[in-house]
């Protein structure tokens, strides 16, 4: 399996049920954003509590995935503030300068995965939402609280930056 399945429209709206079903998605997203499994677990629990607190809203939202991941994003922010430190060393959050060629079969998946983990947080988040969570640009933009245009630019930059990182000796 590459990423998560597209959310089924017949998803029930019981908070406990939603939390259970979204657990793998939320855990993987939080792990991508925070870069640490332990922090991701805490952020997951925060997310599930927030889902329970927003039971009324949960009944009304049209698409659950962006809604749940927006909550998870906020939980990650909270978790990050609480730790008040980056849990690992990440690259400076600058704009990549050159396009570079696409990486290909010679670049192993494991190498690409390791390079993603070293990217700045917002690049990791956008790559996760696009490739793993399978969100449409508009939905991913909603989660990251940016315009759809900005989201597209962010994704484009993330890939260019990733190429740099994959090729780094």
């Amino acid at each position: 399996m590459d990423g998560f399945e597209v959310e089924s429209p017949e998803v029930g709206r019981d908070p406990a049920d939603v939390s259970r079903r979204f657990l793998p998605r939320v855990y993987n997203f939080c792990r991508a954003v925070l870069g640490s499994g332990v922090d991701a677990e805490d952020a997951c629990q925060e997310t599930f509590l927030a889902i329970a607190r927003h039971r009324d809203e949960l009944e009304r939202v049209a698409r659950l995935t962006p809604w749940v991941l927006t909550i998870a994003r906020n939980a990650c922010r909270y978790q990050r503030r609480r730790r008040n430190r980056a849990s690992y060393t990440e690259l400076p959050d600058d704009v990549p300068t050159s396009e570079g060629a696409p990486f290909g079969a010679a670049d192993e998946v494991a190498k690409v995965r390791a390079a993603i983990e070293r990217l700045p947080e917002r690049y990791r988040a956008v790559l996760n939402l696009h490739y793993q969570q399978g969100l449409a640009p508009q939905e991913a933009a909603e989660v990251l609280e940016v315009s759809e245009g900005a989201l597209r630019v962010l994704l484009h930059r993330a890939i260019v930056k990733l190429r740099e990182e994959v090729r780094r000796p």
Partner: protein, 319 residues
């Protein structure tokens, strides 16, 4: 698309689908082969994004029941009261100790009059003026005019507060700054000449501040200029992207082009207009931006710029 797409356009196509590139590919074997490399990259990225299993012990904890929640709140409130009482007692002891020490120091040294915080006085005055202005604007037959005055008052108040966050100012200095900046703001609404504005602004600061204070202002401005420039470029690119529908790769090229061509501004020149204002005022910058666009997008750019020009003229007329 008659010319071959660049790497960035192929990446756009692989990510979101680009109709121009899609139309070009069936007729061009070379570009098809290049596009396949980008498609392969996307496949690798999707594989790299395969989810990992969540830890087996990670289960959503049940939300606390409301009874438990209220008991917790009650306990927190009680704890809060106890802590606050302790903190108050401690703070009061410290304050009395501090006051005694201060009194002792004052007896030792010559007493001097301590004016109220200049920052608070400035804010209070601005607030009073704005409140008075708002009341007047409700009675005014031409409320737009009095609202323009209010805008000036707010702008001047903000400028002085900014200076006060950097340095101590005397009441006399604040008054001189307020008078000078108010006149300058009024003038700049009708005659927008950035160079003259900059000169006058500097003159007002020099007349009101000491050389050391002036140096501090310049140091702060130098720090912020680069940041403001980046923001201005971002705004311009965002507006352009929306107006002529630029794909991400083109936005990146546009950002680099504007970065090369946009003249550096001094902090004093307050941008009071649309992000596109720089393109309207700087024909060279506008031409260099237009040069990057395809004929179709260049047409859309011209139309948008014309519309923006009209909007700005109307806006200036209203004032």
């Amino acid at each position: 698309m008659s010319i071959h797409p660049g790497d960035d356009e192929l990446l756009d196509h692989a990510l979101f689908g680009d109709p121009d590139v899609a139309a070009h590919l069936p007729a061009c074997a070379e570009c098809r082969a290049r596009a396949e490399l980008f498609a392969e990259e996307q496949r690798i990225l999707r594989k790299a994004a395969a989810p990992v299993a969540a830890p087996v012990n990670l289960r959503p904890r049940p939300a606390p029941s409301s009874a438990w929640k209220w008991s917790a709140i009650a306990a927190m409130v009680l704890l809060g009261f106890v802590s606050a009482a302790g903190a108050y007692a401690f703070a009061e002891t410290q304050r009395l100790r501090g006051e005694t020490a201060k009194l002792r120091d004052q007896i030792r040294t010559a007493p001097s009059r301590v004016p109220p915080s200049a920052q608070l006085v400035s804010l209070r005055d601005s607030f009073r003026n704005v409140t008075r202005g708002l009341q007047e604007s409700r009675r005014d037959p031409n409320p737009r005019k009095s609202l323009a005055e209010l805008e000036i008052e707010c702008g001047v108040g903000y400028e002085i507060t900014e200076l006060l966050s950097l340095m101590e100012l005397t009441e006399d200095q604040i008054e001189r700054l307020r008078r000078g900046l108010t006149v300058l703001y009024r003038e700049s609404r009708t005659a927008a000449d950035p160079a003259a504005y900059e000169t006058k602004y500097r003159a007002i600061l020099r007349e009101s501040l000491t050389p050391a204070q002036m140096k501090e202002v310049e140091r702060m401005e130098a720090e912020q200029e680069e940041e403001m420039r980046e923001m201005e470029i971002d705004m311009l690119v965002e507006e352009l992207a929306e107006a002529v529908d630029l794909p991400p790769s083109m936005q990146e090229r546009m950002r680099a082009r504007i970065g090369e061509s946009l003249p550096r501004r001094k902090m004093a020149i307050v941008s009071v207009e649309f992000g596109a204002g720089a393109l309207l005022d700087d024909a060279k910058l506008s031409a260099s931006v237009r040069e990057l666009l395809s004929p179709e997008k260049a047409k859309a750019y011209d139309a948008w710029l014309e519309q923006t020009r009209k909007l700005r003229e109307e806006w200036m007329k209203d004032d």
